[in-house]
């Protein structure tokens, strides 16, 4: 009996396997492109005539994030002109290994290129190298892996110059004179600290606007309540404060919120790095004159053009290679790591903020 029962299970398993194999025979899985692409793979915009469309998979860190949606928008706006279809897939969590199944699926789908905003610098490497072995172009966007795991990387802005830029931005909104303070994230955040160090260097060099005095650096831990408390404390502690510069999206929104309800509104400027959607109301009500970030969509535009160029053979990724991005301009793959800086910081004020949605 025992044997009978087990064989029944085996038969059932075998039957399902037979379904797999039978279907295998009937479906094209070879290198020739499948005769019919399923409807959902068809691009929203019909590809330009002539030649088969380039198939690109873009894997952001996660979905429903306006920042990455903006990168996708840049991709999709550039795609039709490049005869390219872009499929966007992402995991539910931003764990180190969560993007691996999506890379493997892209390999299985024999796409032409994978663009990825990696959740981890190391764990994705074996999968990305396998994609490269399968002849797939691999680039990273807004984040990077080890340089030998991708052909090139696109970074939103030149982070090494950001500290200097933040000082100059403060000078712009204060007219170049007065006391100002940094409201940073956590005291251990590596990127924030490198920007603050860059600002200190610039000030120490004596080339920064002479009228500005950096009086304090406080940390809001990227928590809205703590950031608001710290901003409030700055207003009390420094009666002559001219500006608070918060190079963190949480900090700048919290500081703007505090200032918008403070009698010092208009007297103290808030600036730094923020997203247009978070800061729109403060620009409109006059609390904030100008702030900055970068334009994520630009990374998508450059990525699409880069992929098309590599595929067409007009761009062969190499150290310090210069190439032209139509409608954007000249870009360079800096250094042996082939990192492309998408552009200068994007400044937002009342005149342009409604052009951005992220």
């Amino acid at each position: 009996m025992r044997r009978v029962r087990r064989s029944a299970v085996l038969v059932a398993t075998a039957a399902s396997m037979a379904v797999v194999l039978a279907a295998c025979g009937g479906t094209s899985t070879s290198d020739e492109a499948p005769a019919e692409a399923p409807a959902e793979e068809a691009p929203a915009e019909a590809p330009a005539a002539g030649g088969e469309a380039l198939r690109v998979t873009y894997i952001p860190k996660n979905l429903g994030n306006p920042y990455f949606d903006a990168i996708v928008k840049g991709f999709q706006e550039a795609a039709p002109g490049l005869n390219m279809t872009v499929e966007v897939v992402a995991p539910a969590q931003a764990g180190a290994t969560d993007q691996i199944p999506f890379i493997d699926a892209a390999i299985q789908q024999q796409v032409d290129a994978i663009a990825i905003s990696p959740n981890d610098a190391d764990a994705l490497c074996p999968s990305l190298k396998r994609a490269a072995d399968a002849g797939i172009i691999v680039i990273t966007v807004n984040g990077d892996t080890a340089a030998d795991c991708r052909q090139a990387s696109i970074t939103p802005v030149d982070f090494s110059q950001l500290g200097k830029y933040l000082v100059d931005l403060t000078a712009q909104v204060t007219g170049g004179k007065g006391e100002w303070a940094f409201l940073s994230a956590t005291s251990t955040a590596p990127d924030q600290n490198s920007w603050l160090a860059g600002a200190d260097e610039y000030i120490a060099s004596g080339q920064s606007p002479a009228g500005l005095t950096l009086v304090d650096t406080v940390y809001g831990d990227d928590a809205p309540d703590k950031s608001a408390t710290e901003a409030q404390a700055l207003l009390t502690k420094y009666p002559n404060l001219a500006a608070i510069n918060a190079p963190t999206t949480v900090g700048i929104a919290a500081a703007a919120q505090v200032l918008s309800q403070s009698p010092k509104k208009g007297q103290v400027q808030v600036t730094g790095l923020g997203t247009p959607n978070q800061m729109r109301e403060f620009i409109k009500d006059g609390t904030v004159q100008k702030f900055a970030l970068w334009d994520p969509a630009l990374q998508g535009t450059i990525a699409a053009n880069l992929i098309a160029g590599i595929k067409a053979g007009t761009i062969a990724p190499a150290a310090d290679l210069e190439f032209e991005v139509p409608g954007v301009g000249q870009r360079v793959m800096a250094g042996a790591d082939r990192v492309i800086i998408a552009g200068p910081p994007q400044e937002f004020d009342a005149s342009n903020i409604d052009n951005f949605d992220f």
């Binding site: 009996m1 025992r2 009978v4 029962r5 087990r6 029944a8 299970v9 059932a12 398993t13 399902s16 379904v19 797999v20 194999l21 279907a23 295998c24 479906t27 094209s28 899985t29 499948p34 019919e36 692409a37 399923p38 959902e40 793979e41 996660n62 979905l63 429903g64 499929e87 897939v89 992402a90 995991p91 539910a92 969590q93 764990g95 180190a96 290994t97 969560d98 691996i100 199944p101 999506f102 493997d104 699926a105 390999i107 299985q108 789908q109 024999q110 981890d120 610098a121 190391d122 764990a123 490497c125 074996p126 396998r130």
Partner: protein, 340 residues
């Protein structure tokens, strides 16, 4: 819960059962498997690529190893939620040892030992102190994960020797059939577990313990011993999965394997193991692993996003529990009516 051991597979000789009753426990996972394969082949021309599917099984073997040991724990009437956190500590230990210059073989052995040790700690609290396994392993789920974070912090260990990286890329039988090594290892371990459950006194003790712990104890079954061994097996498998995962990724982070316990438990329950204990089979777990894999792979190849995938797996798990219960309930009612 009525625990007829017919469903346990090999405990009781049952004659004249209709075929439906024989494959009954496996039916939910088989249905899911076939449905996922059909969905995958209809929705994407790239799904039915047998060698690619075979290679992708490498990613599920870690879940499979955890699920095998969890099958035993759940048959005992217990649960172990800490397996994935245990995996992280085992992996972290291995990473730190390799970093400090210890050979990879020794480090891998240490991962197994740490896994086993953490399983033994679970057993100590649950069996030794008589605390509920749900609460204890919920606590060690957090405790072990925290330990991994303390050991590694935010950094990644990457200094693994080249020869160690990529066990999932090693395939047997060459080009004829690219069967990945992890899959073979998994099937061998599954066979061992199956023998353990169906051919040994330990296995019998598991089913009896899970059916009615008190009755089993009064009949002379060493229920404490049985349950403790199951938790230690779970720990050992967490250590083994840690080695596989580290080899596949070539790096270790403290959040490695986050959430794997939920997938592993899903596999066990979908495979027909009674979450209240006393019933379950290894072959059911193996089929369910392939079913869950088919679901995941068919969704990802059809460009379905992560959130939707998670939701689908959740719905399948609920259906896998509800539908057989409802069918059994209806059948019982109709047979009662017939008797009257």
């Amino acid at each position: 819960m009525s625990h007829t051991h017919a469903a346990a597979g090999d405990l009781v000789e049952v004659g004249g059962l209709p075929w439906r009753a024989r494959i009954g426990p496996y039916l939910p996972s088989l249905v899911v498997l076939v449905a996922a394969v059909v969905y995958g082949s209809v929705s994407s021309p790239y799904f039915l690529n047998f060698s690619a599917l075979l290679v992708n099984t490498g990613r599920y073997v870690e879940i499979g190893l955890l699920a095998l040991a969890l099958t035993v724990v759940i048959i005992n009437g217990d649960i172990d939620l800490s397996v994935a956190s245990n995996l992280a500590v085992s992996a972290a230990t291995m990473g730190l040892l390799v970093e400090s210059g210890v050979g990879i073989e020794v480090a891998a052995f240490a991962a197994l030992a740490v896994g086993l040790g953490l399983g033994a700690i679970n057993a100590l609290f649950i069996v030794g102190l008589g605390l509920p396994s749900l609460v204890v392993t919920l606590a060690t789920l957090a405790l072990y994960r925290g330990l991994a974070q303390i050991l590694l912090g935010d950094r990644a260990v990457t200094g693994y020797p080249e020869a160690f990286i990529g066990v999932d890329q090693i395939s047997l039988l060459g080009d004829w059939a690219r069967v990945p090594l992890p899959l073979v290892l998994f099937l061998v371990v599954a066979l061992l577990f199956s023998v353990l459950l169906t051919r040994t006194n330990f296995g019998l003790a598991c089913y009896l313990t899970g059916s009615n712990q008190q009755a089993a104890r009064f009949s002379g079954i060493k229920t404490d011993h049985t349950r403790a061994v199951a938790f230690m097996l779970c720990g050992l498998m967490a250590g083994a999965a840690a080695i596989m995962l580290t080899s596949r990724l070539g790096s270790t982070l403290s959040n490695v394997g986050l959430g794997l316990e939920l997938l592993a438990i899903t596999v066990v329950v979908l495979g027909g193991t009674d979450i209240f204990g006393g019933r379950g089979t290894i072959i059911g777990t193996v089929i369910a692993l392939f079913a869950v894999m088919a679901v995941r792979e068919s969704l990802v190849i059809s460009n379905v996003n992560g959130q939707v995938q998670d939701a689908v797996v959740g719905v399948i798990l609920i259906l896998a529990i509800i539908v057989p219960l409802t069918v059994a309930h209806l059948r019982e009612r109709s047979s009662q009516r017939r008797l009257r």
